[in-house]
Amino acid sequence: MTVTHNKGTGNRTTRVLGILALVSMAAVIWLGLVVTPPDVNMGTLVRLIYVHPAVATMAYVAFGVTALASLLYLFPRTRSWRWDRLAGASAEVGVVFCALTLATGSIWGRPTWNVWWTWDARLTLTALLCALFIGYLALRRTGGAAEPRAIRCAVAGVLFSVVVPIDHYATQWWRTLHPGDTLDSLHPLIHGIQLWTMLLSFVAFGLVYAWLVLHRTRLEQLESRLENEGLALALAARRAEAAPRAPVPVHNGPPGAVPVAVGSAESAATDGGQP
């Protein structure tokens, strides 16, 4: 007897990615909490900077991938369910990263600005982005035929992603409380081990994003298969309900007499049309 081990949505690629992600995450935590020194201005709170910008960048990347995959789905020549699934998977992972961006930003803002939240342009746009993509996920779960729904979602995915560059440049276009880019290519605000830790955090969260999206895309495939199977079963049940009842032979007459069919289409037609 052959026993097949159920590996779920994993394979060799996800295993390698997962190990790399775990190792790099452990390195970021160790460097961020133990090795790097406190900052002259921010003190110990600088350690949150090894998490927050990388998480925010992954949210942008995720929504960007959703927009790209949605465009590929919208073009008739490249239309494939694979792009729809990738768009949905990346949007969900993006919402997780976006929520973490808001949470870690708020935790950094409380001791720095003395408030958990302020209606600053960058913060408000990030919250709007998160809300829009939660709406996108809700749109993906609406009923109806699969293809028109996928087209609606693709259009929404492209439109909602327009907020990403506006959110990114908000600190340059408006006067905001939120600091500008820490990793300005010409004048980075941090150096040495702090800079390397921050760069490593981008790699680590990038690996986590890739791992999550691979698993989520395969899960989307499984879920859509189940949905199709469920739909097929429901349709079969509905058809069986709507079909005329099979005639039930009744034999009340004397031995040797021909049984009379009860509940057939003919008898239904004569007793008021009830099937």
Partner: protein
């Protein structure tokens, strides 16, 4: 809430890594549960 700066740092790391770990565990568990319904030859990624 009155936390020290280290308290905010640990809270931030805890929320971030805890949420990601919980989401990853949920994804893997749901994937395993749903893939049981799929014959091995249809698991195109394996």
């Amino acid at each position: 809430m009155n936390l020290t700066n280290w308290g905010y740092v640990f809270l931030g790391y805890g929320v971030c890594f805890g949420t990601l770990a919980a989401y990853a565990v949920w994804l893997v568990a749901r994937g395993r549960k749903l893939s049981r319904t799929l014959p091995p030859e249809e698991r195109t990624w394996q």
